[in-house]
C-alpha cells in the first residue's frame, strides 16, 4: 500500500472556512502481504526476494525486501455484539478469542472493537492479553448491528500502528444501523495495509465483507451456526503469520489511480494470494 506523507500548509489556528489546504506527498513504498501455499494449501516457507516477481499496472518492479514471520502482528478483532449474538454464540466467541490470544507471540498486539448500534473500543491496540477476555466477559449483546461502522473503526485501529495488521471481523447478522456506507469502507480497503478476514455464519451472504476481504488480500470464512469458531480463529492467525511481506518502491507508473498488482512465485504448483491492487494518490 502506498503511504503518503501529507503536509498541511495552512497554519494551525486558521479558521476552517478560510483554510485552503495544500498537500505535498512523497511515496515511501508499497507493502504487499502475500500468502504462498503448495497444492495442499500448506504455506511455502523459505522463499526469498529472488523467488518473487511483482508487476504494478503491468510494469515489473524491483522488490526491495521480503520478510517472513519476522514482523510482530497487530491482531484487531471487530465483533458483532448485537442482540442476535446471545447465549451459545457469545460463549463460542469468548472461547475462540481466548484460543486466539493464547497463540499470540511476544511482541504481537491485539485490539478489540465491538459493535451493535454503538461501536466501542474496549481494548485499544496493546500487548495486554487479558483485555479481550475481560471485555467479552463483561459484554451484554444488545440493539442492532452497525457492521460497516464497526469495520471502519476496526480498520482505523489497525492502521494506527506500523506493524502488520490483521483484522478479524465476526458477525452473524446483517447491517441494520450503520452511518458509514459500504463504498467508503471498500475504498478504505483499497488504500489500507490492513488485511481483513471476516467470519460469518452460513446464510448471511455478506457481499460487503466478501468484497472487503478480497480487496485487502484476506479471505471470508463461513461457519455453521454451531461451528467451531476457535479452530477458525486459530487457522486464520496461523495463515496470516505465514505470509510474506513484500516491499517495493513503485517505478515507471503514475502515482494516482488504481494500481493492479500481480505477484508471482517461481515455484511450480505454488498458489499466491495477495491483494489485487491498491489505490494510489
Amino acid at each position: 500500500m502506498m503511504r503518503a506523507i501529507v503536509t498541511l500548509a495552512a497554519a494551525a489556528g486558521t479558521s476552517l472556512a478560510a483554510m485552503q489546504p495544500t498537500f505535498s506527498t512523497r511515496v515511501e513504498g508499497v507493502r504487499v502481504d502475500v500468502l504462498v501455499t503448495d497444492g495442499s494449501r500448506r504455506p511455502l516457507r523459505g522463499l526469498t526476494a529472488a523467488d518473487f516477481s511483482i508487476r504494478d499496472n503491468g510494469v515489473p518492479q524491483q522488490i526491495d525486501l521480503v520478510s517472513f514471520g519476522e514482523t510482530s502482528l497487530n491482531v484487531g478483532l471487530a465483533f458483532d455484539l448485537s442482540e442476535s449474538v446471545v447465549g451459545a454464540r457469545l460463549d463460542q466467541l469468548k472461547a475462540a478469542s481466548a484460543a486466539l490470544t493464547a497463540e499470540l507471540h511476544p511482541g504481537d498486539q491485539s485490539a478489540l472493537v465491538t459493535f451493535d448500534t454503538v461501536v466501542s473500543l474496549p481494548c485499544p491496540l496493546s500487548a495486554n492479553r487479558l483485555c479481550v477476555r475481560d471485555a467479552l466477559n463483561a459484554a451484554t449483546p444488545a440493539r442492532e448491528t452497525a457492521l460497516v461502522d464497526g469495520v471502519f473503526a476496526g480498520m482505523m485501529i489497525g492502521e494506527s500502528d506500523a506493524g502488520r495488521s490483521l483484522l478479524m471481523v465476526f458477525s452473524d447478522g446483517l447491517d441494520t444501523a450503520s452511518f458509514i456506507d459500504t463504498d467508503r469502507v471498500l475504498d478504505m480497503g483499497r488504500r489500507s495495509d490492513v488485511v481483513v478476514y471476516p467470519i460469518t455464519t452460513k446464510g448471511a451472504r455478506p457481499d460487503f465483507l466478501e468484497e472487503l476481504a478480497s480487496l485487502t488480500g484476506g479471505r471470508l470464512h463461513e461457519v455453521e451456526a454451531s461451528g467451531d469458531l476457535s479452530a477458525t480463529f486459530r487457522a486464520i492467525l496461523d495463515e496470516f503469520r505465514h505470509r510474506y511481506l513484500i516491499t517495493y518502491a513503485p517505478k515507471n507508473v503514475p502515482k494516482d489511480g488504481w494500481h493492479k498488482l500481480e505477484v508471482m512465485v517461481n515455484r511450480s504448483g505454488a498458489r499466491v494470494k495477495a491483494r489485487p491492487g491498491y489505490q494510489g494518490g
Binding site: 506527498t25 442476535s84 461501536v119 473500543l121 492502521e159 447478522g173 452511518f179 467508503r184 448471511a204 451472504r205
Partner: protein
C-alpha cells in the same frame, strides 16, 4: 421490525347473520362508550373479539357507516349481507344520523379501532402459512388478511396475523365526507398513524397505510412527508439487507420492498411534492438532501441541506443537515467543507458516533490518520451502556416517530367524549 408476507386467501364462511347483527349492535355501544385513549370496558370488549369475529363484522360496519365501495372487496363484503340485514342496517344508519353528528360518531369509531390496535392485545402469532400457488399473484389493493413477518436484528422471529383494527380504521376514515373538501381529521389520522408505524417499525402496515393515503389525501404535505420517510427507510440498508438474505418458508415472499433506487426516487418525488406545497418545510428539505446524496446526486443535494440549516430552529435537524452536508462534500472531494460540516455536527452533539465517523473519514481522506483516529477514539472508549441517546442518527429512520405521542393525542383529544 414487521414486514408483510404474501397475502392469504380471504376465508369466506357461511355468514351467521344473527351473530353479526348482534355484534354490530354491541359495536355501536362500544363506539358510544369508549373514552379515547383509555383501556376501558368498551375497548376490552372489542379486543376480546377474535380476528375472525372482526373479519365477519367488517362488512356490516362498512355498511352501517357508509364506507365507500371504492375497493372491490368492500363490494364483495356488502353483497354477502342478506337483504333483511341490509334493511335493518340502513335503518340503524338513519337512527345514527338523526340522533346527532354522524361524522363525529364515525371519527369516534376510527379512534376506537385505532386504540384497539395500539392499546389492545398483543398480535396473534401463527405458524408460517403455506403460499397458495393456485391463486393469482398478490396485487396492490387486494384485501387483508395477510401475515406479517416479525424479525429482530435481521432474524425472522415469528409470523403474525395483520391486525384487522387498522383495516377498520382506514375504512371508517374514508366514510367521512370527501366533498366539498376532506375533513382535516383524515390527513391528521394518516400522519399520526404513519408516525406510529414508524415508531413501531411496522413496515407491513405502513406500506398499505400510505398506499391508501395516496388516493385519499394525495396532496397533504405532512402525509407526503410521512410516506417519504417510509420510502427512504425501505431503500436503506437495514431493510434491503434483510430482504436480500431472508428466505421465508413455504414459498412465502416479502412484499412491498423493491430496489433501493425505486424507493429513493419515490421518496424524492414525494418530498418535491411536499416542498411544492410548502417550500420552507424544513424536514422535507433535509430529507430531500439526504435522499439525493443516497442517489449519488451530491451537488444537487447541497442546496436542500443548506436550506434546512438556514430555516431550522431544531438542534437535531440542524445536526442531521450538517452531517449529510459533510457526506455530500466528502463525496465531492471538498475536504475542507466536509470537515467543517462534520465539525459543526460534532459541536452540536459532541459524543455522536455518526458525526465522529464522518469527521474521521474526512481526516483520513486528507491523509491525516492520527487526527482521524483521535476523533473517533473519544467516542469509542465510552462504555456502550452510557451512550444511549448520544447520537440522533440512531433515530433518523424513525422519521416522524418522535412526534407520535403528540400526534395521536391531537387525534383523540377533541373526540374524547361522545358529545362535542
Amino acid at each position: 421490525m414487521r414486514l408483510a408476507a404474501v397475502a392469504l386467501a380471504v376465508v369466506l364462511s357461511e355468514a351467521p347473520n344473527e351473530r353479526a347483527m348482534s355484534m354490530l349492535r354491541d359495536w355501536v355501544r362500544f363506539v358510544d362508550e369508549h373514552t379515547a385513549g383509555e383501556t376501558d370496558a368498551a375497548l376490552d370488549s372489542l379486543t376480546a373479539w377474535t380476528y375472525n369475529d372482526l373479519e365477519l363484522l367488517l362488512g356490516y360496519v362498512e355498511a352501517l357507516t357508509e364506507v365507500p365501495l371504492n375497493i372491490p372487496v368492500r363490494g364483495i363484503r356488502k353483497r354477502q349481507i342478506n337483504d333483511f340485514d341490509l334493511a335493518e342496517i340502513k335503518a340503524r344508519t338513519k337512527d345514527l344520523q338523526v340522533r346527532g353528528d354522524f361524522d363525529r360518531f364515525r371519527k369516534r369509531a376510527v379512534i376506537l379501532h385505532t386504540d384497539a390496535a395500539i392499546l389492545g392485545a398483543a398480535p396473534v402469532v401463527v405458524a408460517a402459512p403455506v403460499a397458495d400457488k393456485s391463486r393469482p399473484p398478490w396485487r396492490r389493493g387486494e384485501p387483508e388478511p395477510r401475515v406479517d413477518v416479525k424479525s429482530l436484528d435481521g432474524r425472522v422471529e415469528s409470523f403474525e396475523r395483520a391486525n384487522p383494527n387498522w383495516q377498520y380504521s382506514m375504512g371508517l376514515v374514508e366514510s367521512l365526507p370527501a366533498a366539498p373538501r376532506r375533513d382535516r381529521f383524515v390527513a391528521q389520522w394518516y400522519r399520526a398513524v404513519g408516525a406510529y408505524f414508524a415508531k413501531e417499525r411496522n413496515y407491513a402496515d405502513a406500506i398499505g397505510h400510505f398506499e391508501r393515503a395516496q388516493l385519499v389525501v394525495p396532496d397533504d404535505p405532512l402525509v407526503l412527508y410521512g410516506e417519504a420517510c417510509l420510502q427512504e427507510t425501505l431503500g436503506a440498508p437495514r431493510i434491503q439487507n434483510y430482504v436480500r438474505v431472508t428466505t421465508l418458508p413455504n414459498g412465502l415472499v416479502i412484499r412491498g420492498v423493491s430496489l433501493p433506487q425505486t424507493h429513493l426516487r419515490r421518496a424524492e418525488s414525494l418530498l418535491r411534492k411536499a416542498l411544492a406545497a410548502d417550500s420552507h418545510f424544513v424536514e422535507a428539505n433535509l430529507r430531500l438532501g439526504r435522499v439525493l446524496t443516497q442517489l449519488q446526486r451530491h451537488e444537487e443535494a447541497l442546496p436542500y441541506l443548506q436550506a434546512a440549516i438556514a430555516d431550522s430552529q431544531d438542534r437535531t435537524v440542524t445536526y442531521y443537515a450538517h452531517l449529510f452536508s459533510g457526506d455530500a462534500a466528502l463525496a465531492l472531494g471538498r475536504l475542507p467543507d466536509s470537515r467543517l460540516s462534520y465539525e459543526i455536527a460534532v459541536a452540536l452533539y459532541p459524543d455522536s458516533q455518526a458525526s465522529r465517523l464522518g469527521l474521521a473519514a474526512a481526516f483520513r481522506a486528507a491523509g491525516d490518520r492520527p487526527a482521524a483516529l483521535a476523533t473517533l477514539e473519544r467516542t469509542l472508549v465510552k462504555p456502550p451502556a452510557s451512550r444511549e441517546g448520544d447520537d440522533p442518527w440512531w433515530d433518523y429512520y424513525f422519521g416522524d416517530a418522535a412526534n407520535v405521542d403528540r400526534l395521536i393525542e391531537e387525534l383523540r383529544e377533541p373526540l374524547r367524549s361522545r358529545q362535542p
